[in-house]
Symmetry: C2
DNA sequence: CGACCGTTTGAGTGGGGTCAAGGCTCGTGG
DNA sequence: CCACGAGCCTTGACCCCACTCAAACGGTCG
């Protein structure tokens, strides 16, 4: 039962039962893999799409001197890769953080399913866009936030994403990450992760014991994280909301090419 | 003449003259936009794909308190967005760093071109994959590198990308970025960017004056940056090269689902 | 009961941030 | 032709957030 995958893709479009069955068939050959293993090594060719059905995995990069960075999490229902036959090597490895049930879907197979099933096609497309949005958010998160904000932001994102597949409730979720994992994710040392977690605990923003992350007041945590969940909302139509003033430029945005065609906008 | 766009997409696949003409028509309605303007504001709906034909633009995010982070550069020939009608707001703004000539291609139009022209389709797909790879690299760059390494890495990437469209030679390229831009890109303060640049200059790794970036010894710069250009090579087939030992796990990678189907790999 | 892995705590250090002032370059206007 | 101002770059001084090294503590599982 690819429960989480269907639930996740079903957030983007309505999936008719027939399409759900197709998806179920795509991930039929799933296997359990133990924690701390690699599904894919950096530099390998990406010939297939991975679907994580249960458990947590991550994408990571590693330097020769041992420094490691986790660039993304794969939570239940997440896809990794694109449905094309890509000859070039990937610049990431996929590693499991917990036992993981995952399926490897050959690119052409997924592509065929997308072509004969428009809703699957659209869902996979939108999921790829969502993944890009998350990646951008991570870049910015590490780029301009303090340690406390980074971790708070990460926790907000994780809970949101897990809620989307029914793996988190209002009070929190399971968090099977070590403090070392967290450090390699948000770009701070393990020791400092520990101190930052204590700060968050003492501020009453989180509880964290035995892999159980509790968030007593989501609004408060989001506030310290400067967390804005638009990038995780699959079908929001709030496209015109005001987001404050533009600082760098007083200029009006260029709205479309109609008005600007072949002109010079100084 | 969408010279750079065609040159860039032509790196992924062979583009027959007919397809080049189609691309030229897609970006026919291009306009010049002055520096420091927004092409798209954060929170707007992404109804089209932007093609940057000349000049430098960037994607950025901004917090209420004024902190800003540049999450990507759009160089000549770069595309931004996906060819689908996406109802949800984007989590980035597009701003120009120099005067920019850009075209706005409505999603359905590009999609139609992709469907009737397989090589365009494949090129756009691969370009999106390449963009994701760059984004991941940026996340890791900020995550585990020092200030000097971050800037060195960024410079290596920029020169590589510009070379791909013929805008950089062996000795360097034009770099129309302020030190503030650089700081907001790699996540360090403007003052520290300045000091880091001086270090790189004194080490003989770069020259930088009047927006001209010179790299006397690319190999040396790549070494201090721990730069590996696989993620920028469009059609490399070096999928099996050895990338050193896996640190976290001694386990062999899971090669395919055939062997693992329905089994538990401890 | 140990061994191991992850967490916690302390002490000292350093990379990078902040604040502030001065210098360079170029475009503009008198 | 020069004066001036606006950006941008540069430099100095001081400080603090986060890193490193090191040791102790705590669960969990053979």
């Amino acid at each position: 039962m690819p429960h989480h995958l269907i639930r996740k893709l079903g957030r983007y479009v309505h999936l008719p039962p027939e399409d759900e069955a197709v998806l179920a068939r795509l991930v039929h050959e799933a296997a359990w893999i133990g924690p701390g293993r690699d599904l894919l090594q950096e530099g390998a060719a990406a010939k297939a799409v991975w679907a994580v059905l249960e458990g947590w995995a991550c994408l990571y990069k590693q330097l020769e001197d041992g420094r490691r960075h986790i660039t993304a999490y794969l939570l239940p229902g997440d896809l990794c890769g694109a449905p094309i036959d890509c000859p070039s090597p990937v610049n990431y490895a996929i590693g499991t953080l917990t036992p993981v049930r995952a399926a490897r879907i050959p690119g052409p197979i997924l592509l065929a399913a997308m072509e004969s099933h428009p809703s699957i096609r659209r869902a996979v497309w939108l999921d790829m866009l969502a993944t890009s949005a998350i990646q951008r958010e991570w870049t910015a998160n590490i780029g301009f936030r303090t340690a406390r904000e980074r971790i708070a932001h990460l926790f907000c994102e994780i809970v949101s994403r897990l809620q989307a597949v029914g793996l988190a409730d209002e009070t929190g979720c399971l968090l099977p990450l070590t403090q070392e994992d967290l450090g390699e994710t948000v770009g701070i040392s393990t020791v400092h992760v520990n101190r930052t977690l204590q700060e968050l605990r003492q501020a009453g923003l989180i509880t964290l014991r035995r892999q159980r992350l509790g968030i007593p007041d989501v609004a408060a945590l989001r506030k310290v994280a400067c967390f804005d969940d638009v990038y995780l909302r699959p079908l929001s139509s709030g496209s015109d909301r005001d987001r404050g003033t533009v600082r760098r430029s007083e200029a009006e945005p260029v709205v479309g090419s109609e008005a600007a065609t072949q002109n010079i906008i100084a």
